[in-house]
């Protein structure tokens, strides 16, 4: 029994990462009608920035993490200005290609700046484990979980109670009507890219120590984050996080109870089945792809 709970715990641990990526993807998709294929690379870039600040320059972990998150936000603004703004209103596929282009460029830049070696990014609070009875919980993961929940709360507050949040929701619901009411698409798009890139930055920093910072270290997380967003129907931020957790648990179960070679396949197959049974998302009733 306790080994089963351990399984769930480690599944949830990974699931948070997927959820965070999914969350950022949903925010962008709902407002820019774009799928950000560069999310993983952008997050990885921030992981490298944190490495630069903490290890190379000797700043404290907190300063490094904040610095990397700010760099992430600025990166988001830059990407939005260069690749997304000129394509506002373009078909989904054009936007996908644009983010793939950013992915190629940024991956190359990262490699030029930091080389191809594996970097060791320290974990917050030393990265020890906590033992609850016979169950081991990674301390880093607890911190990640706390940060994720805080982020979710902040985003929920922003969406519900701030002007820009209202604008974002209006925009997500009906772009045209929102514009008629004076919502500027540029403002919404800029804000959303900034926020989701900053979330990416945090993800990159938090998971750097666990996955080892190296070229493309966020790519597998990206794919699973993507599917997490799909499980959430691509409409709600909390749905994406739930989807991520579900994804993580499924994966852990698959690794434990099937052979290691089939395991990577199973979660995606589950998603496929989920899509076929409930094309509108497992947790949602509303259709996500109005104009996709």
């Amino acid at each position: 029994m306790s080994s089963f709970i351990q399984l769930l715990v480690s599944g949830l641990e990974n699931g948070i990462a997927y959820g965070l990526v999914g969350l950022a993807l949903v925010l962008i998709f709902q407002t820019s009608r774009a799928l950000n294929f560069a999310q993983g690379t952008m997050a990885a870039f921030c992981g490298y920035v944190a490495f630069e600040l903490i290890v190379t320059r000797g700043f404290s972990w907190v300063i490094g993490a904040i610095g990397a998150t700010i760099v992430g936000a600025v990166l988001g603004l830059g990407v939005e200005r260069i690749a997304i703004r000129p394509l506002l209103g373009a078909p989904l596929l054009s936007l996908v290609i644009a983010t793939l282009a950013i992915d190629a460029i940024l991956g190359n830049v990262t490699q030029r700046l930091w080389g191809a070696d594996v970097k060791n990014l320290p974990a917050p609070m030393g990265g020890d484990d906590w033992n609850v009875g016979s169950i081991v919980i990674g301390r880093t993961y607890v911190i990640i979980a706390i940060i994720t929940l805080t982020l979710l709360a902040l985003i929920a507050y922003m969406l519900k109670h701030t002007r820009i949040g209202l604008a974002m929701r209006a925009f997500a619901d009906d772009q045209f009507a929102a514009e008629l009411q004076g919502v500027k698409p540029q403002t919404v798009s800029r804000t959303v890219w900034m926020i989701s890139a900053a979330i990416g930055g945090i993800t990159g920093v938090l998971f750097g120590p666990l996955l080892f910072v190296q070229l493309g270290y966020m790519s597998p997380i990206f794919i699973k984050g993507f599917t997490a967003a799909v499980l959430g129907g691509f409409v709600s931020t909390s749905g994406a996080v739930l989807g991520g957790l579900l994804m993580g648990v499924l994966e852990a179960l698959a690794v434990r109870y099937t052979s290691a070679s089939i395991a990577p396949m199973l979660p995606l197959l589950v998603i496929l089945v989920a899509l076929l049974v409930r094309p509108t998302g497992v947790f949602n009733r509303k259709l996500a792809t109005r104009r996709a």
Binding site: F29, L35, F37, I82, A83, P86, L87, A90, P91, L92, L93, S94, I97, A98, L100, A101, I102, D103, A104, I105, L106, G107, N108, V109, Q111, R112, I223, F226, T227, V230, F234, S261, I262, P264, M265, L268, L269, I271, L272, L275, L276, P279, A288, T289, R291, A292
Partner: protein, 645 residues
């Protein structure tokens, strides 16, 4: 023999021969064949590495045209295409050397397997669209790759597998030659599909699913076909790719590869076959050119992608088209200058003379000749054998029995019962939100409804939109639902989709009866368009046309399906009164002889009073009045419903 003819005769014979020659030379098939031949010749002289790169471009183009069909034409995004590539590659690896037939056998087997898998993958596409379809195929692609690691007997698992040399009937084959031939063949087949009724159906279902169904297009079947066809082409490219790389590892068939293939068609130009070729040249050629800048390849490649997608959203083919147009324009302007410089009275006269004969010729064709012919042809429809329904009966009564539609708690249509005799013209009026369009949707099967709808002795209740269309239910749309990017001629051809009898195989080969049927269709379409005053814009993009004209295109599409029950949803809205009158008169002129029953939703009171034999007033989903137009329009309830007095 020619010398014995009189000068005049030989001149006309010559010119018609010349015309035909010119037409042949200018046809895409001829140009494509010549271009491929030149590539083959030139590349044969290359060093082996350059020849290899050219072959890679060609075989990627084979994959690309499959994706043009799937993504560009049918509008379905697949991020799992690497699976089909793998099917081709491993077929080659396992089959090569086993039989003396060699390449042809490998291609056939790869296509059969890929089509089977493609149909299985295509089935989810019936339930998913857009983003979710992309994710679904992505998941399948990922699962497929894992399967390659597991299926050791066939793939060699993680250690990989070598591919024997390319052979056919025992003799060696160059990769270049094989690629040229396979690409040529694929281009020809897919080009025929795209310009035939299948291509039109795919364009139609991409741009407006409901409109496609409402003219009887088999949306689901066509979608699965697009998947299967693109799978087949990708697998054919895969066979060649397997021979090109010699060694296969499951690592190759990643999601990244699938994404690269999609980038290829988007960057090349997703709606055009030429786009696939240009895209292949881009994804293979550009990294090749950047070899010297190995360290900055990602930056250069990404920047190029961005520049293209932002400044030429239609892909490289758009740049190509613009350049060609520019060259053409400058050539014509140069020519014009050359003509005007030595302008003598004689030359001017000659030019004017030519102009006027041309004008006369055109005028003759459109005014005096085609139109009466067209009317004759269309009005004589009952004698045509291909639509036996029209022959057998002059028309059918429409019966609605307690038809109701609810959206959640809102009752849009409440138990509407109505009987309409065959061949009548019924006006359906009522305030906004009365449920008029919803009632149309219930008759067409677009929304689920309670109650019964019967047309003649055919029960329509519970049937799909397409089945009802095949029973002769035709309609126009309040929001037009036109097919973006297509022309009015295309719309009419889409409208008469169900009258094409040729099958897929003959369509691909473009057999003589297909050409004949297509030509007849086009002539009929042009006649119909001329009748509706659309002859001048027949080949323009509908999105560029003014609203009133678009409206007529919508009507033309519905008429082309030769409905026996025609539902017109506010056909006159937004049109000047005289134009609206003319449009409706034309419609009735065409439908009356066929005994078609017509129902018109319309707010233009003068119009409904003039053309309708009977008016039904709908308010809040219920019939509140039903009778002769004169009585109805004076009735107190109607005034109340409309004006709230």
């Amino acid at each position: 023999m020619r010398e014995t003819r009189s000068p005049a005769l030989s001149a006309t014979a010559d010119s018609s021969f010349k015309d035909r020659l010119l037409a042949t030379v200018r046809s895409p098939v001829f140009i494509g064949a010549v271009a491929l031949g030149i590539v083959w010749l030139v590349a044969s002289g290359f060093k082996s590495y350059e020849q290899f790169v050219v072959s890679l471009v060609l075989l990627h183009a084979v994959i690309g045209i499959g994706l043009v069909l799937l993504v560009g034409v049918a509008g379905q995004l697949s991020l799992g295409q690497a699976v089909f590539l793998a099917v081709g590659c491993y077929t080659a690896a396992n089959l090569a050397g086993r039989s003396t037939i060699g390449l042809p056998l490998e291609l056939v087997v790869a296509v059969v397997v890929a089509v089977a898998v493609g149909m299985i993958v295509g089935l989810p596409s019936l339930r998913l669209s857009g983003l979710l379809l992309a994710v679904g195929t992505l998941a399948l692609g990922f699962a497929g790759q894992q399967l390659l690691y597991l299926w050791t007997p066939v793939t060699g698992g993680g250690t990989g597998k070598t591919v024997p040399a390319l052979r056919m009937f025992g003799s060696k084959l160059t990769l270049l030659g094989a690629s040229v031939v396979v690409l040529g063949l694929s281009l020809y087949l897919v080009f025929n599909v795209i310009r035939g009724r299948t291509g039109r159906a795919l364009h139609a279902l991409r741009t407006s699913d409901t409109a496609a169904r409402s003219v009887g297009i088999e949306v689901e079947r066509r979608r699965v076909f697009a998947f299967a066809m693109s799978a087949a082409l990708t697998a054919m490219g895969g066979v060649l790719y397997g021979h090109a790389v010699n060694y296969l590892s499951p690592d190759n068939f990643s999601i990244e590869l699938s994404i690269k293939l999609v980038i290829m068609v988007i960057i090349g130009g997703q709606r055009r076959l030429l786009g696939a070729v240009l895209g292949a040249a881009f994804v293979i050629g550009v990294p090749e050119q950047f070899r010297a800048f190995q360290d900055y390849q990602g930056i250069l490649y990404g920047t190029l992608l961005l520049v293209i997608i932002i400044f030429a959203p239609g892909g490289i083919v758009e740049v190509f088209d613009r350049t060609v147009a520019l060259v053409r324009r400058s050539v014509t302007s140069l020519r014009a200058r050359r003509v005007t410089v030595p302008a003598t009275p004689e030359l001017l006269l000659k030019a004017a003379g030519q102009g006027s004969t041309n004008g006369k010729g055109n005028g003759h064709a459109s005014d005096a000749h085609v139109v009466p012919d067209a009317t004759a042809e269309i009005i004589e429809l009952p004698t045509e054998v291909e639509t036996p329904v029209v022959v057998s009966a002059p028309g059918f009564p429409l019966v609605l029995d307690e038809v109701g539609v609810r959206f959640g708690g809102v009752v849009a249509v409440r138990d509407v019962s109505l009987e309409m005799p065959a061949g009548g013209v019924l006006g359906l009026i009522g305030p906004n939100g009365a449920g008029k369009t919803t009632l149309f949707n219930a008759i067409c099967g677009v929304v689920p409804a309670t109650g019964r709808v019967t047309f003649g002795d055919v029960e329509l209740t519970g049937r799909s939109v397409r089945k009802r269309a095949l029973e002769g239910v035709g309609r126009t749309f309040q929001n037009l639902s036109l097919h973006e990017g297509l022309t009015p001629v295309d719309h009419v051809l889409i409208g008469r989709h169900r009258f094409y009898r040729y099958n897929l195989a003959s369509e691909m080969l473009r057999l003589p009866h297909v050409i004949r049927s297509e030509r007849e269709g086009r002539e009929e379409a042009e006649a119909l368009l001329a009748l509706l005053g659309l002859a001048d814009v027949a080949n323009e993009r509908v999105d560029d046309l003014p609203y009133g004209t678009q409206k007529r295109v919508d009507v033309a599409r519905a008429l082309a399906s030769r409905p026996r029950l025609l539902l017109l949803d506010e056909p006159a809205a937004g049109l000047p009164h005289d134009e609206a009158d003319a449009l409706i008169d034309h419609v009735l002129e065409l439908t009356r002889p066929q005994g078609t029953s017509v129902v018109i939703i319309e707010h233009n009171v003068d119009l409904v009073r003039r053309v309708c034999e009977r008016l039904v007033v709908l308010a809040a989903g219920e019939v509140i009045a039903d009778g002769a137009p004169r009585e109805i329009l004076e009735a107190r309830v109607v005034a109340e419903a409309y004006l709230g007095v």
